[in-house]
Symmetry: C2
Subunit: 464 residues, 2 copies
Amino acid sequence: MNNREIEEKMVEVVKDYYEKEKLNDTLAYREASEENYKAVSNLKFPKEGRSIDEMIDLLNRDVFPYRVVGDHPRDFAFIPAPVEEISKIGDVLTTLYNPNAAGWFSAPVIASIENLLIDFLCEKVGFGKESGGTFVSGGSLSNLTAIVAARDDKLEMDNINKGVAYISNQAHHSVNKGLRIVGIPDSRIRSVKTDENLKMIPEELEKLILEDRKNGLIPFMVIGSAGTTNTGTIDPLFDLAQVCQRQNVWFHVDGAFGGSLLLSDTYSKRLRGIELANSVTWDAHKWLFQTYTCAMILVRDKKTLLKSFSDNPSYLKDAHSEDQIESWDLGPELSRPALSVKLWLTLQTLGLDEVERRIDHSVKIGEKAESELRKYDHWQIVTPGEQAILTFRYYSDKKTEEELDTINTEISHGIVSSGFAVILTTEIKGMKVLRMCTISPKTTNEDIEMVVEKLNECVKSLKL
Amino acid sequence: MNNREIEEKMVEVVKDYYEKEKLNDTLAYREASEENYKAVSNLKFPKEGRSIDEMIDLLNRDVFPYRVVGDHPRDFAFIPAPVEEISKIGDVLTTLYNPNAAGWFSAPVIASIENLLIDFLCEKVGFGKESGGTFVSGGSLSNLTAIVAARDDKLEMDNINKGVAYISNQAHHSVNKGLRIVGIPDSRIRSVKTDENLKMIPEELEKLILEDRKNGLIPFMVIGSAGTTNTGTIDPLFDLAQVCQRQNVWFHVDGAFGGSLLLSDTYSKRLRGIELANSVTWDAHKWLFQTYTCAMILVRDKKTLLKSFSDNPSYLKDAHSEDQIESWDLGPELSRPALSVKLWLTLQTLGLDEVERRIDHSVKIGEKAESELRKYDHWQIVTPGEQAILTFRYYSDKKTEEELDTINTEISHGIVSSGFAVILTTEIKGMKVLRMCTISPKTTNEDIEMVVEKLNECVKSLKL
């Protein structure tokens, strides 16, 4: 195929998406059938190429439609991906030119854009002049990058088997995974108690640290959360930071989800104390409306990343040589796409006021969902919707806890299989609960009212 | 902006690329000027959004053109990215639908495509029924994934500080980085001697292993290369595998670059022994013509990945539950784009014969470059072009080694700044040499002849 034909196909693909798929985008979830799987598994990789039209048709027909539609106004599962379409334009540009965004030689102006973004985000965190960071493939990798930096800052390599890390019992499982990768097994990961609001208790943390130190272990890292995945709960960051400073322990804040609150004048104060962290994880493919993926690791002192990831000792001498620092010296990856350009394009063209409006909107939609559910006695709010994540469950004092778990699971199945909305369950304080993450800027009050109505119908149909 | 406007902009972006940028694509490298940097740095992130047309113009004018053009027929630097345009169509589809490719619930048919590809690639390696793997963000992460699996298979967590890894003195620096991330410092990374052809010497390896074991250390991993980044050299994989089996050490093969030789009937035999490895890294954004990024980790026994990365112990009991294994249980990442779809589309529509033809072509172009340079006395071949990577240097017995280093650096500067071709230097056996990686399917014999002519001109202009 020549470039002219490629161009035509690509234009067709774009038009088909916006004129067919996007317009028919009424379902938040479509379940795949045996037929769809077979369409794919029947096609061995052939010696002679197949028709590109047929293959694109197949992808449009049997593959891509079957998914959780992350930018659907009624996808409330996981952390949805409520993508701004402008991000897709940035992504398409990135695909077309396909620069290798690692390095000042390969793609110099993109490296410069990346620096501008990292500086901007560090400023939002409240970090000072020594701060820095880089783009990474996702929140898991960002957390891992921070964990490596923390370990190398606080432990000697031969002391890894004495290092202890502290996380909340609500932490995302990628945090445990990251710790295991760097050599900290579960037996040296302390799960710190949380209070009735699921916030890590600073006094409990400090007690554990002192105890471990008494036992000859080396506490090296605390991981707090600026919005847990489960409930959006923000740990008492300021108080945790005080404990960490007192105890000389690295303080990492997982803001993969909630970091974006920093772009809201109204809600950024909820993250007070994040400016005292040593490192922050922030995903732009979550609450900054980017396509998969776009994540950042930000650190108070960029020398800590260089110490772990750079082979170039000259960097460590001269902390002011920002301009020449290669991104591979700040993290575990090397060649990678220009993850930053789509975010840059989005912020430049939406403007920060609009981004703020969207974040504020998400919080209000979470509150709306909460108040809508409170109208009915059979819905019990488990954790409030104040950070755009709400958990709740069907409740009746005539049912056992076991029965309630089953009922709530069935409600989730009912609403998901209808495709009208995606609401999954999670476990909180031993209960199976329903969970809604309301970060789509497209979700309206009417959506919420319809969803609650649908939930009520699900309950009714169960004939409890 | 509504979807109609987004569609129009995106179509415009595609057309502009193919009708302007792509047609003017005569330079392999364009250096950015102060003006380009300023165009970007002058634009603070605004409260009110800027015009999207202006921002796209700026990206097309000041940002993207300035790069190493990875798919240019005369980009010979690093491992180039000689992207097949069909991969870009797959990427655009992935961007538009933006599925979260992690997980059978989020994107079931894509998960199925991923399995089909992993199975196909494992079969090419020569792995058996227990094999598996996953897509990861790049070669560095793939190597890291293998290193974690190796460590967890051969060491106890409390023995990490006794673990020793063995790499060739030609190994890619991402390997050292990966080892440090999992807790193996440079002091326990042995750099095994290579022979005059830069291949790791199995006898030297075994000697080091025995020595370390005698000293109470625990040899756990050998990393061989199926095509080094520097010279394309393939280690004696079969013999290394024998040593590893004898010594009960994990054998990882870094085939990020050279793994693709497995798709050539003619050249796959050069990788004999790779089928005995425990794990293999393979990047499709290198010699399989994909956009950034598309990389795979493949393992002989998928249970080894599950042991390191899964929280779900039931997987470990039932190795036959392939269908339900989530990709996040096989590697360090979670949410991610559908990296597999573009590769699937490329293989289906090009066909395996065409892929093979392209790989064979690259090898021949490397050989052509070698024979073309051999026509001139002032060019000295340092390592042969047989694996599509050739190193050579200007040589004259009237110059000192130091002078030769300077001259060869100047030749590289000369050709890069002309934009006609990108040829960088690397260091081999203490010498500064020129290096050409010839994996672009678009590179012709005429390109090579022109490049050698240009190199000769560079030499002449230096008036040596």
